[in-house]
């Protein structure tokens, strides 16, 4: 205890001089600072404000905006409704309705797609867990930061809206395609 105390360095608070105690010089320099800013803004146009609807912010790379669903380059919904994002979503903003037992034969090896996929943008906290957890690279946080609506129900984005906003993802990985191609190639080698 003593040792610890001995090791401490005590920093002495400097006594203020009489002038400093009056604070008047300090006040004066403060007024100068504010006045300089006033002057620069008013007459030299040094404005930091961005006037939003006319001027728009350049969104940096890696910005986490609203999460949207993407399609691949062959116009397929990448989401297979594995519901991992629904599970991981901290504010429970995602709600997926799985497709039920009917299988769409056009999907090839991808047997499953969401019947409905809803994100409540009022609940979404843009944390990016959904993107991180997605095994199919089907949901991405995109650059939209200004989401507006006039009702709560309007802010629940459904599958069509999410897909339309999400656009096409040009990623090189297309699991279903690779699997389907492999399987097709092997059909020829199948024993009778």
């Amino acid at each position: 205890m003593n040792n610890a105390r001995n090791n401490l360095t005590t920093v002495k608070r400097t006594e203020l001089t009489f002038l400093e105690k009056l604070y008047v010089p300090t006040l004066w320099s403060g007024l100068k600072v504010t006045f300089r800013h006033f002057w620069n803004t008013l007459f030299r146009g040094k404005v930091v404000t961005m006037e939003y609807p006319e001027q728009k912010w350049t969104v940096p790379e890696g910005y986490r905006g609203a999460p949207y669903l993407v399609k691949d380059t062959e116009d397929r919904t990448k989401c297979v409704s594995c519901q991992l994002c629904e599970f991981v979503c901290p504010p429970k903003a995602i709600r997926i309705t799985p497709p039920g037992p009917a299988v769409d034969p056009t999907t090839g090896n991808v047997e499953k797609r969401p019947k409905e996929f809803e994100i409540n943008m009022l609940r979404c906290i843009f944390c990016g867990f959904c993107q991180e957890v997605c095994p199919e690279e089907a949901i991405f946080l995109q650059k939209d930061y200004s989401l507006t609506g006039v009702s709560r129900s309007e802010m629940i984005y459904d599958k069509e809206k999410l897909l339309a906003l999400g656009g096409v993802h040009r990623g090189p990985i297309m699991k279903w395609k690779q699997k389907a191609d492999e399987a097709r190639k092997q059909d020829a080698f199948k024993p009778e």
Binding site: A188, F189, P191, E192
Partner: protein, 161 residues
């Protein structure tokens, strides 16, 4: 198409069952006999065997799909089996196979047994026919042919026709 087994074959098969302690043990022999007689094992045949041996058809089907030489579809009238094991492969089995295929308008790269449209020939690769010294060897139906050159092959085809 009803599956009818001739009486003498059935009698032969009935006798075959008695060779084994359990009926089920006769399944392979049954399959061989049926294939010999009909050329292949149809689903009806498999079901017939199953009922004959007090089995479920799936048990017979397991055997049929396990052994590649049990056929599930009718082969051609003349079956050309070309050995492709190492010695014959080095000795020109693939060229021979391709030759047959071209002759019959079949795909030389396709896998498995191929039958001509008129059903007269079927061509396939088989594993070792135990004639390595005289590669390439092949079988035409049950006949064994050694040192099969392309001209010999043509000869074989014309003989069959």
């Amino acid at each position: 198409m009803a599956f009818i087994v001739p009486a003498e074959l059935e009698a032969e098969l009935n006798e075959l069952v008695t060779h084994y302690p359990q009926k089920r043990s006769a399944s392979l022999m049954f399959l061989h006999a049926i294939q010999e007689h009909f050329g292949f094992i149809s689903k009806e045949a498999a079901e017939w065997i199953a009922s004959k041996l007090d089995l479920q058809p799936i048990h017979v089907w397991e055997l049929v799909t396990f052994y590649p030489m049990f056929r599930q579809h009718p082969p051609g009238r003349h079956q050309l089996k070309i050995c492709r094991t190492l010695s014959c492969a080095l000795g020109g089995a693939y060229a021979l196979h391709e030759h047959f295929c071209r002759k019959f308008g079949l795909d030389p790269k396709a896998h498995g047994i191929q039958t001509t449209k008129d059903g007269s020939f079927s061509v396939e690769f088989v594993e070792c026919l135990a004639g390595c010294g005289t590669a390439p060897v092949m079988m035409c139906n049950d006949e064994f042919h050694e040192n099969v050159s392309l001209s010999k092959a043509d000869e074989l085809i014309s003989k069959c026709q």
